[in-house]
């Protein structure tokens, strides 16, 4: 075993943030993806969209300034930047489904080598299905980036040949950020863009359920 340190949740979020350019319209999914906002450069205009009808989301408010009418899709209190706007759900999903969102960052249970994503439902007998905006975001955003652990808690690969779990959207993921690597999904397959220091390509491959390629 080589000697490497997996990236923390914050470090992964930072990696994603570095790849977001000024002027992009971005939707950050519930959970880990929301953290990306903390690492966006403050001097650049990047537009955060929340599917419940907010464009130009700002950071969380002070406790005294919380407003029950100003929340994000994860039902967390937010603020609105100068230049932000409110709109109804029809317009909000026109932005998503109509291809106006440049980038969506989602969490995932599994991603297949062709870009299929599973992130909405584990499908076990006792699970209650709940999809929210996940399927709209998966098919609608111009690019979809995924943040997830490279392997499950049991050590199973989460990047797979084909999905084991119920699919959210077909062939829609463009890039995966894990605690071990950044991997592009291309016409030529899974291309490793970058790995944590000390990790070898073979080790990464051994933790991945589909064939990786070096760039």
């Amino acid at each position: 075993m080589s000697n490497y340190t997996p990236r923390s949740v914050d470090e992964i979020a930072k990696c994603v943030a570095q790849d977001i350019e000024e002027g992009m319209y971005v939707n950050l999914g519930i959970g880990q993806p929301t953290k990306v906002a903390d690492f966006l450069p403050k001097d650049k205009d990047i537009f955060l969209h929340s599917e419940n009808g907010v464009l130009g989301m700002g950071p969380a408010p002070e406790e005294a300034d919380r407003d029950g009418d100003l929340i994000n899709a994860g039902k967390q209190y937010i603020t609105l930047l100068k230049g932000g706007s409110y709109f109804h759900h029809g317009d909000s999903f026109a932005m998503i489904r109509g291809g106006h969102i440049d980038l969506c960052v989602l969490g995932a249970f599994e991603v297949a080598k062709n870009g299929d994503i599973a992130n909405w439902f584990l499908g076990r007998p006792k699970d209650i299905p709940a999809v929210g905006g996940a399927m709209d975001l998966a098919v609608g955003a111009k690019k979809v980036y995924v943040i997830m652990d490279h392997v499950s808690k049991n050590g199973e690969p989460k990047i797979v040949e084909s999905l084991n779990l119920p699919i959210t959207g077909e062939k829609c993921v463009n890039r995966i950020y894990t605690d071990l690597a950044v991997i592009d999904i291309t016409e030529q397959g899974l291309v490793v863009r970058e790995m944590v220091d000390g990790l070898t390509f073979d080790e990464l491959q051994s933790k991945t359920g589909a064939t990786l390629r070096q760039p």
Binding site: R97, I128, M135, G140
Partner: protein, 223 residues
């Protein structure tokens, strides 16, 4: 002189009968018409079909409505929340029917209903469990699912200001499903925090024109 302002939430519920389909606004608690829902519970109509983004939180509003036993079926995008235990129990014990619809498809189906379209092809959910058994079509190389409109007998929504013609404004992200639900129902009841004089709302700033609203109920002290 036409006046759509109804004195009390209870009065506004008088038309709601057993078996009605009711759209209920809100995303979580933001925009949820809590006082109208309380009045609907008091009305005690049975066998309702509810369309709303979520399936209630804690023991208030929509959750309380479910608990009351008035609801036969709920159509929503995200029933499961950390505090949706009332719904969870009803669902697991088979006491409520659930139709899960992607959030954007929920919006689009209501918009189709409100605007008189017969059906729409949407790319969302193609190839997934939620499109099983549905008609599909490939158009210009993209795969779509055929979805039918949602139209309802009633909509209960929460707005901010309203006037006697039923014009409405909203507050921040509480707008969410309000405007599209108002358009998709035959009888829309809006609770507002303030009823203003006709003409007090700037015609450029009215979000829901009165044509989509049938009753306005002022809830005192509500934000």
């Amino acid at each position: 002189m036409l006046n759509k302002v109804t004195e009390s939430a209870i009065d506004a519920m008088s038309h709601i009968n057993d078996g009605a389909t009711i759209l209920i606004g809100g995303f979580g608690l933001a925009g949820q018409p809590a006082e109208l829902i309380d009045a609907l519970i008091e009305r005690n109509a049975k066998d309702l079909t509810i369309v709303s983004n979520n399936a209630g939180n804690g023991e208030t509003g929509l959750a309380l409505l479910l608990k009351s036993g008035c609801v036969r079926k709920i159509i929503c995008s995200f029933p499961r929340q950390h505090d949706s235990y009332i719904f969870d129990d009803l669902y697991r014990s088979g006491k409520i029917e659930l139709e899960v619809v992607p959030q954007g498809t929920l919006a689009a189906r209501m918009q189709a209903g409100g605007s008189g379209l017969g059906a729409i092809y949407t790319p969302t959910a193609y190839g997934t469990l939620l499109a099983e058994g549905k008609e599909t079509r490939t158009i210009d190389g993209v795969n779509y699912v055929l979805e039918y409109p949602i139209k309802a007998d009633f909509a209960l929504i929460k707005a901010f200001q309203g006037d006697r013609w039923g014009n409405l404004t909203y507050r921040k992200a509480a707008r969410n499903f309000g405007p599209i639900m108002a358009a998709a129902s035959k009888h829309t009841i809006a609770q507002v925090s303030e009823v203003v004089e006709l003409g007090a709302l700037d015609p450029e700033h009215i979000i829901t024109p009165g044509i989509f609203v049938h009753e306005v109920v002022c809830i005192e002290g509500d934000k």
